[in-house]
């Protein structure tokens, strides 16, 4: 049932979720990019549904044209097919997709707006996180704490090979590259626990390189962080 729900557009799904008991422990919604739990992931999910609709129409168009081809020979205008359909029609569609993509891309970029900055440090095979606590940085292993309803920038680094930081319900992924610090913007709507994983193949332990994101209510931050991690330091 939940599987089927995951593929529905998220507003429909949220409605449906009201009727389904979500008593499962751990992370809700698994790793599904189609069950967004924040505005960044929601924007991308909408983009996907729109592109899927367009792609479906285009596939149907091609199928219909192919079916109609199985008729008697017709006089055709070369230019109508190569220039009309091939060039201008496709250019029109592609331009609109590109504009939508750039628009969403601008919305989800990190910007200078006083976002909470956390650090994600990848290694073979696990994650260490640093969050800003009330009394200085708080380090955690395998669990990232963030406040709800506030933009969060994750600074992603690695100490060995390339990994990638990905919490599908919050945002897209970004690679952890040796010698570089990459920044990813994400934001969670409501408190809860979400799943994250390494998305770049990194050797034997790749499949198990998971982590959790615990989203705390905005008004409890950063006290909730201290409470959850048992003090200022691990």
């Amino acid at each position: 049932m939940r599987v089927l729900l995951d593929v529905l557009p998220h507003p429909i799904k949220r409605f449906a979720l009201l009727t389904v008991p979500l008593g499962l422990a751990g992370c809700e919604g698994g790793l599904s990019a189609l069950a967004p739990a924040g505005p960044v992931a929601a924007d991308i999910a909408w983009l996907w549904w729109a592109m899927l609709a367009g792609a479906t129409l285009l596939t149907l168009l091609v199928v219909v044209l192919l079916v109609l081809a199985f008729g008697p020979p017709r006089a055709v205008s070369d230019r109508r097919w190569t220039h009309g359909l091939g060039l201008w029609f496709s250019l029109g569609i592609l331009t609109s997709v590109l504009i939508a993509g750039l628009w969403v891309g601008e919305r989800i970029l990190p910007r200078d707006d006083g976002a909470v900055e956390v650090e994600a440090h990848a290694y073979q095979w696990g994650w260490r996180f640093t969050q800003p606590g009330a009394d200085g940085p708080v380090e955690t292993d395998g669990v990232l704490h963030i406040p709800a309803n506030r933009p969060v920038d994750v600074l992603v680094t690695t100490e060995d090979v390339i990994h990638a930081f990905w919490v599908p319900r919050l945002a897209g992924k970004i690679d952890a590259i040796p010698g570089r610090i990459n920044r990813l913007r994400l934001q969670a709507d409501v408190p809860g626990t979400l799943s994250g994983t390494c998305a770049e193949f990194c050797g034997i332990g790749h499949a198990g390189m998971r982590f959790e994101v615990i989203v705390h209510a905005d008004e409890d931050w950063p006290d909730a962080l201290a409470a959850a991690t048992g003090g200022a330091d691990e």
């Binding site: 983009l47 192919l66 997709v97 599908p168 992924k173 010698g179 998305a199």
Partner: protein, 843 residues
């Protein structure tokens, strides 16, 4: 063809008895008897089929690996494979399908088809065809043996460093990939060179570029992309292997390297690669669709323009494989737009094909089923490709099963379905037999259902968060039914491919004799005996004979250059644009030299793999000796009388003309070589501007003495360029002694340059393991040194030819080739020296 006004009318030859001509030609062109005859074969029909047959075997092996992967993923905690083996299997699945199936398959198709559709008798460099095959076979065997020995590569087919570095991948697994694949790529470069030369110089007289069959246009685009696309990967593989073997830090951040340099070099190859694979398949479609619709193609000119656009655009979008590495967002927008734009020329072709079907009357015969399979699958793959070009969506879908689904839609849709259409279409041409009824259609439907059952829902699996390259997913039971479904349909698809193979085998063994031109196709590959005779055409098609209907006319010797009266393999060379007849080329016959040279290269690869680095030197000496033998095989010892090609048209043999096939081939090879050098310069620029560990520490060397030495090296190499011109001028004026002296002087000055470079490398370079700058300087010195060695060899060869009297006023011998390489060497040495001196000055 009547408007060929730049080509003088060529009168047909008088008819002869076809059977006598056939016997005369077959004696000259046939492979030798028995197993030795197969080993020494250089014929394009034999080798094209051998390439394709070997590629099919690798396809089967890659397919079995895919089934093992699907078996492991069928349940969340599959205990079928351990993780290490699983990693080896998916790495090998990708590597085999790309490098040992798709590329050799299209090379085989090009080698088999091109001489036949262009109206010539063989590829431009038959021994190179054979060399390419043996390199492919030996390189592939190295990978297979590693697979069975349990030491196969396991870092993914993209080999991202630092995971593939000596630190994180000890053992020979990664070396097997780097060395084995580079070995195989020699065959890609060989094929690219001779495909280009064959299309440009061996078209039947009067077949202008703008009139040649579309398949040839597609192959020309493919070979141009291979010439420019493969060198970045070859360079990357060499650098990574040198880093692994000798600790030169090109990709090590701590010492001025950058792992992103590998990604750039890899995808500079990797993205064009997709179009390298797609273009030949599109060429097949442009050939088959009009024939099966009983009409002509819609928009020939638009399709050619689309091919050219694809060739250029495909080199501008490699970064879309790297959208998640942290790239400035303006660059993201640019590469996103470029990636979207590349869909336009593809759309032009798709609509031109559909328009062709509207224009004609499509017949639902077996190849057409596969064409329809192509349309359905490839259009969907193209649309998901556009989605992936959109950066925000890419950030979610990248490295998930969604991409796995997308790439299989593109590659199976855009390559495998067209290849199956090609196989069913040309099997009568290849075997002379008609297909068995029913089995082929059954295979098609099973493959189509199996394919979409496997991969359609995999889009969903990816969007639900399943990353690529994981072997277990205990925490995600919601993926189980998706994976199980994919696995079940995967096995269905495998059954379909087995049926398809069975169909081909049955047709080859048991099919009835086919009609001579079963599809009533217009192209020249049907204007010959079936199955194809060793020499293809008894006489070469003149402008009015370039049609399948000319079969009897050509067999009776009424075309150009009939028979093989002089007892050697002859074909007609034309000029690149208008195909005006230029000269007659005498091709080398059957030879074991290609096998020997490939074995010598293989010896070098094995010594590298074993870490016996000093023993690579004797292997290289053996390679050099065999290359010398190779060159000797092309030497002409005396003048040759002009050959009567048609009544009133006498043409010289290639030893008397400057623009030979070898000359065009050397230019193509230098284009590839220059791209490799440019990639190296890109590496220097990228690291010094982008890598974190720069500026480098001040160099320990770089004094005035070194600058003088570098200057002296350049002077010696430039003097070599004067020496070759001097020798050629003396040769023209009949001063044979002076020509020999010029060659000798060039030899000495190149030797001096070589010695100076060795001295510089030994004393004036900083420890290359210290910093990427010093490692790059080492590579630049090595590159120039290798070329100094090559031109020393050229000069020695020319000196030897002069001594033997093979260089004469009417025969330039090896001088033009030497001159090309000498100029190239001097130019690249100049650039390399400028970089080294500039870096020294900058520090």
């Amino acid at each position: 063809m009547s408007e060929a006004k730049f080509v003088p009318e060529i009168a047909p030859n008088p008819p002869q008895r076809a059977l006598a001509l056939h016997r005369q030609l077959d004696r000259v062109w046939a492979n030798g008897p028995g197993l030795w005859g197969q080993i020494t074969a250089v014929n394009h029909t034999t080798l094209g089929l051998r390439f394709m047959g070997t590629a099919l075997i690798f396809f089967a092996i890659g397919g079995i690996l895919a089934m093992l992967i699907r078996a492991q993923l069928a349940t969340p905690q599959g205990a079928f494979l351990d993780t290490d083996l699983y990693n080896q299997f998916f790495t090998m699945h990708g590597s085999i399908m790309m490098f040992l199936f798709a590329i050799p398959m299209l090379e085989g198709l090009a080698i088999y088809m091109l001489p036949k559709i262009l109206g010539t008798r063989d590829m431009a460099f038959p021994r190179l065809t054979a060399l390419g095959y043996w390199c492919y076979l030996f390189g592939g065997l190295i990978l297979l043996i590693a697979l069975f020995a349990g030491v196969a590569p396991r870092d993914g087919w993209f080999m991202y460093t630092p995971l593939s570095s000596a630190t994180y991948s000890p053992g020979i697994n990664a070396d097997v990939w780097l060395l084995g694949i580079t070995f195989v790529e020699i065959s890609a470069i060989c094929a690219a060179v001779e495909i280009t030369v064959t299309i440009l110089r061996q078209r039947a007289p009067g077949m202008k570029l703008t009139q040649m069959p579309l398949l040839a246009w597609y192959m020309l685009g493919t070979s141009a992309m291979m010439l420019v696309g493969f060198p970045p990967l070859i360079l990357g593989s060499i650098l990574l292997e040198v880093e692994r073997a000798f600790d030169w830090p090109f990709f090590d951040v701590a010492r001025g390297g950058d792992p992103l340099l590998w990604q750039h070099l890899f995808w500079l190859f990797g993205h064009p690669e997709v179009y390298i694979i797609f273009l030949p398949a599109a060429g097949v479609l442009s050939t088959i669709i009009p024939v099966l619709c009983r009409t002509t193609i819609v928009g020939y000119g638009a399709i050619v323009a689309a091919i050219v656009a694809l060739v250029f655009l495909s080199f501008g979008l490699w970064v879309h494989h790297m959208f998640t590495v942290g790239i400035p967002h303006m660059a993201l927008a640019f590469f996103s737009a470029a990636s979207v734009l590349v869909a336009v020329p593809t759309a032009v072709q798709v609509f031109a094909w559909i328009g062709t079907m509207w224009k004609g009357q499509p017949q639902l015969r077996l190849p057409m089923l596969h064409v329809l399979g192509f349309f359905l699958t490839f259009v969907m793959g193209g649309l998901t490709g556009v989605m992936l070009a959109i950066v925000p969506f890419n950030w979610q879908a990248h490295d998930t099963a969604f991409v796995t689904a997308h790439l299989h839609y593109v590659l199976i849709g855009g390559f495998v379905f067209p290849m199956m259409a090609a196989a069913t279409y040309w099997m009568p041409q290849i075997t002379g037999r008609a297909p068995i009824k029913g089995l082929g259609a059954a295979a098609f439907w099973v493959i189509l259902i199996g394919f979409h059952g496997t991969f359609f829902i995999m889009h969903l699996t990816g969007l639900m968060g399943m990353p690529r390259r994981i072997d277990v997913y205990p925490a995600n039971p919601e993926w189980t039914w998706l994976n199980l479904t994919s696995s079940i349909f995967g096995f269905v698809m495998t059954i379909g491919f087995a049926l398809f193979a069975l169909d081909l085998i049955l047709q080859a063994l048991m099919g009835r004799r086919t009609a001579r031109n079963p599809w009533r196709a217009p192209t020249l590959e049907w204007a010959m005996l079936l199955p194809t005779p060793s020499y293809t055409f008894a006489s070469l098609p003149l402008p009015q004979q370039q049609d399948a209907q000319a079969r009897l006319t050509l067999a009776r010797g009424e075309g150009a250059l009939p028979g093989a009266a002089r007892g050697v393999r002859e074909l007609l060379v034309t000029d690149a644009g208008t195909a005006r007849p230029d000269h007659v080329a005498v091709l080398p016959g059957n030879s074991a030299l290609p096998l020997g040279l490939a074995a010598a290269i293989g010896l070098f690869v094995l010594m590298m793999l074993a870490g016996l680095y000093w023993l690579t030197l004797p292997a290289l000496a053996l390679v050099a000796a065999l290359v010398w033998r190779w060159g000797r095989g092309m030497a002409f010892t005396r003048d040759h009388a002009p050959v009567t090609v048609a009544p009133g048209l006498d043409l010289p043999v290639q030893c008397h003309t400057p623009m030979t096939l070898s000359h065009t081939g050397a230019v193509c090879l230098l284009v590839a070589n220059g791209t490799l050098f440019a990639s190296l310069l890109f590496g220097v620029g990228f690291l010094s501007v982008v890598a974190p560990g720069w500026p480098a520490p001040p160099p320990g060397h770089g004094g005035v003495a070194e600058a003088w030495m570098i200057g002296a090296t350049l002077v010696a190499l430039v003097f070599g360029a004067f020496a070759v011109r001097l020798a050629d001028r003396a040769r023209r004026s009949g001063a044979g002694m002076l020509a020999g002296a010029g060659a000798g002087a060039g030899f000495v000055s190149n030797l001096v340059a070589l010695a100076l470079i060795a001295w510089l490398a030994g004393t004036a370079l900083d420890d290359p393991t210290g910093h990427a700058r010093d490692a790059l300087r080492g590579v630049l010195a090595g590159y120039v040194g290798l070329h100094a060695f090559i031109v020393t060899g050229f000069a020695a060869f020319a000196f030897d030819q002069a001594r033997r009297g093979e260089i004469a006023p009417s025969r330039p011998g090896s001088l033009p080739g030497w001159r090309l390489w000498q100029d190239y060497t001097a130019a690249t040495a100049l650039i390399a020296a400028a970089i080294v001196l500039w870096q020294g000055g900058a520090a």
